[in-house]
Amino acid sequence: MTNLIVLPMALPIIIGIILIFLRPYIKTQRAITVIGLLTTIGISGYILQSVYTDGIMRLDFGGWQPPFGILFVADSFSAILVLVATIVTLICTIYAFSSIGREMENMYFYSFVNFLLAGVNGSFLTGDIFNLYVNFEIMLLASYVLIVLGGKKMQLRESIKYVVINIISSWFFLVGIAYLYAQLGTLNMAHISQLISESGQTPLLTITSLVFLVVFALKSGLLLYFWLPGSYSAPPTAVAALFGGLLTKVGIYSMIRVFTLIFYHETQITHLAIGILAGATLIAGSIGAVAYKDIRQIVAYNVIIAVGFILVGLAVMTQEAFEGSIYYLMHDMIAKSLLFLLAGTMITVTGEKRFDNMSGLIRNYPAFGWMFFIVMLSLAGVPPLSGFIGKVLVGQGAIEAGSFILLALAFISSIFVLYSLLRIFLNSFWGETIISFEDEIPLRKGWMVSFGLLTILMFVLGLGAEYFAPYVADAAYTLMNPQVYIDAVLND
C-alpha cells in the first residue's frame, strides 16, 4: 500500500499534536514519543526494503495524478535518510529525557521534536519542489522554537540571527521557485526534469539553478556557514545534537536531489561551482576547527567540514562518489549527533566550555572518554568504523573523475578533523584530574544509553557496510540515472 510512505511525516505530526493535549503528563508524553518513533523507524525500514525489492514508491495526495498534484516519492536515497534521521531523533530524545529538564518538557518540547522530524522526513520524501519549501518551513519553524526554548540570554541572541538568516534563504527559495515556474509551468520535480531534458537547459535555467545553489548552500552550510557555529552552540545539548545531526543534512539532501535530478545538463557551470564551494568549505572548516578552544565551536566546524566532504561526491558525479556520499551522510548523521552529545555532556559535567580548562576526565568517566576516542577515529575515517567506507568511495570517485585537488582537500581535511578532536581528547581527558571523586557529577543512565546506542550504530554501519551496500548502490544508481526516477513518477 503506497499510503505507507506518508507515515514517516504524518505519524510524528499527529503524535506531536496529541502531546499538546497531554501537557501535564510528562511520563505519558515520553512513552508516546518513544513508541511513535519506534513505529516510524519500523515503517521506514519496511519502506526501504520494499523500495529495494519493488522499485520506487509514489503517493499522489488526494488521488491527483502527477504532474498536477502534490506527491511523495520514496526512492532508496530518501528511504535511507528517513530511516537514519528517525533513529537519530529517537536516540537524541532518549538523551533529552534525562537532560532537558522538566520546565522545557512542560513547554511542548517533545511536540516540537516530533514536528522537526516531520519536516525533515517530509523534505526527504517529497517529489514536488514547492512542497519541499513547505517541508523546509515546517522543519525550520520547529527549529526556531527549539533553539529558543529555555530563553537563556545566549539562546535569544543567537536565535535572532538564525531565524533571520533562514528567512532570507527561504525567500531566495521562493524566488527560485517563481523563476522556475515562469519558465516551465510545473512544480513536480520529475516533470521539471523531463521538460528540461526535452528543451535543453537554457542559460536562464542555469541562472535559476544558481539561485537554488545559494539557497541550499545557506541551509546546509556550504561555505555560507557563518551563521552555523553560533546557532549550534546556543541550544541545550540534546537539541544541538538534533540540529547537528539532521538540519544541515536536509540542505545537503536537497542539493543532491536538485542537482542530480533537475540541473545536471550544465555540469561545467553548476557542478564546478559546487566543487569550488566544497573545496573552500573544507579549507575554511579546517581552519575554524583548529582555531577555537571552545569545544562547541570546534564541533560545529566539524559539521562544516563534513558538509564540504559530502558535496565533493556531488561535485565529481560518479557512481562510486555518490555511494561514498550516501555512506558518509548516514555516518555523519550518527557520528555528529554523538559528537554533539559528548561535547555537551563534557560541558555539563565540568562547567567549562574551553578544553584547556578541563583535564583528566578519563579517570572520572572512562567509558565516556573511550567513546569520544571511538567517535574521533570514526570521523577521521579509521576502519572498521563507519566513516571509513564513505571516505574511500568518495576518494575513489574523485580519482576516477580526475578531481585531484578536491581529493587532496578532502583527505587533508580528515587530518584536521583528527587533529582538532585529538586536541580535545588529549587536553581534557588526560593529564591531572580536576574533578575529585567526591564532587564528580555521575553520568546518568539515559546519557550512557544514548551514547552506547550511537557508538554501536557506528560499528554496525562500519562492519555491516557489506550488508548496506545493495541499498546504497541502488540509491546511487537512481541519482546517476534520473530517468529511473522520472519513469517511476510520470510513466507507470
Binding site: E137, Y144, I160, W171
Partner: protein, 113 residues
C-alpha cells in the same frame, strides 16, 4: 503589466534590504515581512497576470481561467510567512525583554561566553 509589477517587487526588495540592514530588531522583522511580500508578488507575476477569469468552478469555459496554481502557492506561502513573522516577533520581544536592548550591534555577543 508584468514588467511594472516586477519592478514593483524589485522596489519592495530594495525597501526590505534597507530595513534588514538597520540596527533595530523591529525594523529587521518588518524588512523580512516586506521581503516575503515581494516574493509573493513575484510568484503571481510569473504565473501571468490578467489572462482570464477567476479560477473558481462554475459554468464558464474552463480555458478562460487564469492559472490557479500561483494563487495556491501564494496562499500557502502567506500562511507560512505569517507564522514565521509571528515567531520572530515573539522571539525579538522576548529578546528585548531579557537582554534589555533592541540594537543588533549590542547583540553581537562577546567571544568569551
Amino acid at each position: 503589466m508584468e514588467t511594472l509589477i516586477t519592478i514593483l517587487s524589485g522596489v519592495l526588495v530594495t525597501v526590505g534590504t534597507y530595513l534588514l540592514l538597520s540596527k533595530s530588531i523591529l525594523r529587521v522583522v518588518l524588512g523580512t515581512a516586506i521581503f516575503s511580500h515581494a516574493a509573493h508578488l513575484l510568484i503571481i507575476t510569473m504565473g501571468g497576470l490578467k489572462t482570464g477569469n477567476v479560477p473558481i468552478l462554475g459554468d464558464e469555459d474552463v480555458s478562460a481561467f487564469v492559472d490557479p496554481l500561483p494563487q495556491a502557492l501564494i496562499l500557502t506561502s502567506i500562511v507560512i510567512s505569517f507564522a514565521v513573522t509571528a515567531v520572530i516577533l515573539t522571539i525579538s520581544y522576548r529578546a528585548y525583554q531579557t537582554l534589555g536592548t533592541d540594537n543588533l550591534e549590542e547583540l553581537r555577543g562577546s567571544k568569551y561566553d
